[in-house]
Symmetry: C2
Subunit: 336 residues, 2 copies
């Protein structure tokens, strides 16, 4: 495989190029085989590059005259921002100029532009967003994280197939797939969750293990956890917020306590850092797109780029396509 090229939406996110440009320069320094194409206003990008030194054969600038606002309606962006940094970065992936795209911009607009530029995998109704939660030294694929706030049972079924394929690409041979619910008893949940569970039970290709509660996710009870985007967003951001709160609490401890605990804290921070939650992938599209948290700092944004590189190296979309078609054979199951 040639050296991966990642297209970066340099204008997106709460902090825009002020955060993204330095993150890219740091990333290039620590990843000698990667090329980054920064898409946005060249003057602004060059201003933030300033006097930083870097390998200029691996940092390209690609001009785009517009930027999507964080609070802009996706329909508005689709209509009025054809030359936005977000859309141009996605087009680079669509036409082969880049292997993946990373954006910290408006999630809805990114999803809309991505569908337009990259198209959908066959038979998939809606793309989903996923991440790999780091749990006890393993990964748990969580899907959806906010792309689909109201889901049908069939949507959830398809997310399960996509998520299982993503877990397989990551090396899990028979990923345990579970449906997030308010209890594990069969009678629990609303009608959508009940119907999705019935569909999943019918699939012979999925290793469906039933319902999972949110605390079970952190006991590593499943490799793939499926839910609508509202619940997934709450679970992900809640985890991120709680970990940040805990670290803040630890930081406020008396200095002597912290000095004594330094080895333990070092170990804890290495394994469980909020920034490690950053970087979510889109599933179901014809190309690789990673969404960084809008409020990510430089370290967090680098982690999102890392996720993109990882997805490219795993040939994530090829694995998904192959597995998904396989998974899908016995499917398009019908609700009772």
């Amino acid at each position: 495989m040639s050296s991966p090229v990642i297209a970066i939406d340099a204008m997106g996110g709460d902090f825009g190029p002020r955060c993204i440009v330095p993150a890219c320069i740091s990333f290039l320094a620590s990843h000698p085989a990667i090329t980054l194409t920064l898409v946005g206003d060249p003057d602004v990008i060059l201003r933030y590059i300033g006097r930083h030194s870097f390998d200029d054969s691996r940092l390209r600038i690609y001009a785009a005259t517009q930027a999507v606002d964080m609070a802009e309606k996706p329909s508005h962006a689709l209509r009025y921002k054809p030359d936005s940094s977000m859309r141009v970065a996605l087009e680079l992936v669509a036409n082969g100029g880049a292997d993946a795209c990373v954006s910290a911009g408006n999630t809805g607009a990114l999803m809309a532009f991505a569908r337009q530029a990259l198209g959908m995998l066959p038979s998939i109704e809606r793309p989903a967003i996923y991440t790999q939660l780091p749990i006890m030294g393993r990964h748990c694929v969580l899907v959806d994280l906010g792309a689909n706030l109201d889901c049908s049972a069939l949507n959830l079924y398809q997310f399960a197939c996509l998520g299982a394929a993503a877990a397989k690409a990551d090396g899990v041979s028979e990923p345990r797939v579970a449906l997030l619910n308010v209890g594990t008893e069969q009678t629990k949940g609303n009608s959508v969750v009940q119907q999705a569970s019935a569909l999943l039970k019918k699939s012979s290709h999925l290793n469906y293990i039933g319902f999972i509660e949110a605390n079970g996710v952190f006991r590593c009870e499943a490799d793939v956890v499926v839910c609508d985007g509202f619940a997934g967003n709450v679970l992900l951001k809640g985890s991120e917020g709680l970990v940040s709160m805990l670290f803040k609490h630890l930081d406020e401890a008396p200095i002597l306590f912290k000095l004594l605990a330094a080895p333990l804290l070092h170990r804890l921070k290495k394994d469980i850092t909020p920034a490690r939650y950053n970087g979510a992938g889109f599933l179901g599209l014809g190309g690789l797109v990673i969404k960084s948290h809008g409020g990510a700092d430089e370290f967090g944004f680098q982690h999102a780029i890392q996720q993109a590189v990882y997805a490219v190296k795993l040939r994530l979309n090829d694995v998904i396509k192959a597995n998904f078609l396989d998974l899908y054979e016995d499917s398009v199951p019908k609700c009772d």
Copy 2:
């Protein structure tokens, strides 16, 4: 106020009387002004009491011949379990024999029996479940936690009023009320959340501050966080699971690291313990009911009893009724 009497559903929960009876005996030992009425099969309760010594003037046994199963459909329990420990304990509250009820049993059945036995507050469509998340030395009322998986905008509006009154009862004068969403921008969220936000903005009695993301909950950005029961359940159980995972991670550290970190760990465990998340109250009913987690251990169940005592001492329902009627005056607002 006379000494509070708490009715305990002794047969509920994953572990039933084996866990609940010893928890009650320990609770009585550490709380000399409280009386507990254990409701269930007297033979079984007496067996678990065994040779424990306790102040028998403050532990009463009240016979009930049936028990609700954890996986039983609420409609089945309502119909076939009129003499269940759960229902009999609630009747004690209804007829003045107890000031509050604590159960670790089937949530749906508890809610159904509670509505039947205690009735609803005027104008409230559906009761909700709430808890007070301990965050950075403050409390955050989170409502709903699973009683209402699919909510209307008016339901969410009413939960906001109930939650705000609960926060007031707890001493917060102008509780900041926020609606849980996938983003804080006004355009974010599904139609129910959008409509609920419009209703909340119209209320002159609520200090509504807009949307909150799940990570904002742990930054203490609101005193009351309102959401449907699915999202609330995910946020609460996810937090609980993540904290448990972190403590497990710390426990697995090398012994020397742990010894050195003992003062810090002691401080952390004191402030942030999974068991402290146990004990959720019902809001909107004509009496006080606390739901313990089904899987709570003795320590956790004691925390749920403590919550009940706290609610009785705060005269929670009186405060809610007074504030709620006040809050409700300008309301029954209409969706646009």
